[in-house]
């Protein structure tokens, strides 16, 4: 069963780019990643699903119900963490979370305290005294205290320190194990890789690819940099799967796609001073990998 079904969703703004003909499904129990550079249309899609903005054309259903006409009903089972968190400044954290809980008609007191302890959030502080990271935690809690069946996260980890990111992801895995479906948007490939089973890639308002994480990883380029004398360059260029080879400040760098052992075997015969093998950023994937589809 699909929890989310988006069909030909289009949102046009006057000048700014919206989204064009976006379609994808998210199945029940899935952790679905929604990736693309900033401004590609991730938030626009999510905000349409939540009925915060209204589509120009196309349709979207959540739990089989139209996201526009049944918004309050759908919201009962949805937890949403916006990319930019902002709450009523003069409220205490606990009061805000109680206010949040009051919309769902459930007693969430126990879970508020459990999650606050887990995420290391002081419930007695005032919202306007909180750091950005702590506000983000408030956002996480208000999205999760009512145990939603669908969790929608828009750029969830910005502002969280690595330890908290880890705890938060663990929390999401637990919710997912209990049956929650998760839609997570991000421009950081790494966090999507750690969590998601399937991803949709959006670029300039259009979905350009929907595939499983394992397929995406298999097609993945690596960024390799080797600090070595220029005499080795020709051999690198001859390796199959090497592209964008260039030399700068004594370092030869290239993108490599294929069996990494071939590179390692080649390096074994060289006298190198330093070596980097990096995941390309999502931006770089867009630049080099999806150029032809753009």
């Amino acid at each position: 069963m699909n929890v989310i079904e988006i069909r030909n969703l289009t949102k046009s703004y006057g000048k700014a780019r919206g989204i064009i003909d976006v379609s994808f499904d998210v199945a029940e129990g899935e952790i679905f990643g929604f990736i693309g550079p900033n401004g590609a249309g991730k938030s626009t899609t999510i905000r349409t699903l939540l009925n915060l903005i209204h589509a120009t054309s196309g349709s979207a259903t959540v739990f089989g119900k139209d996201c526009r006409t049944h918004a309050p009903e759908i919201a009962r089972e949805v937890g949403y963490l916006p990319s930019e968190v902002s709450y009523y400044d003069r409220m205490k954290v606990l009061d805000l979370l109680k206010y949040s809980a009051s919309f769902y008609g459930k007693d969430c007191t126990k879970r508020i305290h459990e999650l606050a302890a887990y995420m290391d959030l002081d419930l007695k502080r005032r919202i306007d005294d909180l750091s950005f990271g702590n506000k983000k935690k408030v956002g996480i809690l208000q999205g999760l205290i009512h145990e939603p069946k669908l969790i929608i996260l828009d750029e969830p980890t910005s502002g969280l320190d690595p330890l908290m990111q880890q705890r938060f992801f663990e929390l999401l895995r637990q919710e997912n194990a209990k049956g929650a479906t998760i839609l997570l948007s991000s421009h950081v490939l790494d966090e999507v890789q750690r969590l998601c089973g399937r991803v949709a890639i959006i670029k300039e308002g259009r979905i350009i690819r929907i595939e499983s994480m394992s397929d995406l990883a298999r097609d993945h380029y690596k960024k390799v940099g080797v600090e070595v004398g220029p005499e080795a360059d020709a051999a690198f260029a001859a390796l199959e799967g090497v592209t964008n080879l260039e030399r700068k400040d004594g370092v030869v760098s290239f993108y490599y796609k294929g069996d990494i052992n071939a590179v390692v075997a080649h390096l074994a015969g060289l006298r190198i001073r330093n070596l980097w093998v990096e995941e390309p950023t999502l931006e770089e994937i867009f630049l080099h990998y999806y150029q032809k589809e753009g």
Binding site: S43, R47, I53, E73, P82, S86
Partner: protein, 264 residues
């Protein structure tokens, strides 16, 4: 009704400040009446020497200054001015503060319809205005009586109630404005210029003696001189006030239902 409760709770301090300030301002002024009651003729003579335009601008009603209500009507225009600021603040903030303070994402992703949100917020504004006026009357009526034991309370209440009506009109206009605009960066930056603008327009209208300008500014829809003389409101203007308030609120509901809540 949790949105309503939230609005009332978060507005409590501001409500106390506004209602006590308005009541205190009016009361202090009425206490002056006690001090200059015996010299009221001199006071009136001084006012009479002002050019007619200045008299019109101040809204002096000659022949009534010797009663506490008449004396009070002199300052009442400024009470209404302050009350209008409070009302526009409440109206603009209802939706404007959610979009401007970026809390709209939180509120509108909760399981509550937009019509319900706006209805609860509008009701909260109405209740706060009723409370403001209740406090105002509860304080000012005893003060008026202390200054003139045979004060015409009916007239006093009739005049004072127009504070509420003007506030309702301004709150409705504020509500519509706060809903229609993309986002409100600062509520006061909207309310002060708007309210003073309407006030100055009304004052200019009185100075140049152009009666049609009265239709443009809610400050002139309930004329103190007319109320004191006739003991009633001008029906046409009262209907105008009611219509403007109803249309503005209805338009707010329509606009809010269609509104796109953008990020940032």
């Amino acid at each position: 009704m949790n949105v309503f409760a939230h609005e009332i709770r978060s507005g409590a301090r501001s409500l106390a400040t506004w209602s006590l300030s308005l009541a205190g301002f009016a009361s202090l002024y009425m206490l002056l009446y006690g001090a200059i009651r015996n010299d009221i003729q001199v006071f009136e003579d001084v006012l009479k020497q002002l050019p007619p335009a200045a008299q019109a601008a101040l809204g002096v009603v000659f022949g009534t200054l010797d009663t506490v209500t008449g004396f009070y009507s002199f300052v009442f225009a400024y009470i209404v001015l302050c009350g209008a600021i409070q009302a526009v603040n409440l109206g603009v903030a209802a939706i404007g503060r959610e979009t401007g303070g970026k809390t709209a994402d939180f509120l509108l992703s909760k399981p509550v319809g937009r019509t319900s949100i706006l209805a609860q917020k509008a009701l909260a504004i109405l209740v706060q205005l009723v409370l403001t006026n209740a406090v105002y009357l509860a304080v000012t009526i005893p003060v008026a009586l202390s200054q003139q034991s045979d004060a015409d309370l009916g007239q006093f209440a009739l005049l004072s109630a127009t504070l509420f009506f003007v506030q309702v009109v301004f709150a409705a206009l504020g509500l519509l404005f706060g809903t229609v605009v993309e986002k409100v960066k600062s509520v006061v930056a909207v309310s002060l210029p708007a309210v003073f603008g309407f006030f100055v327009v009304g004052m200019l209208g009185a100075i140049i003696g152009e009666d049609k300008i009265r239709y443009v500014t809610p400050f002139k829809w309930f004329d103190a001189a007319y109320i004191l003389k006739n003991g009633t409101y001008e029906t046409g203007f009262a209907i105008l006030a009611a219509c403007v308030a109803v249309v503005a609120v209805a338009a707010s509901f329509l606009a809010f239902a269609r509104k796109d809540i953008h990020a940032q």
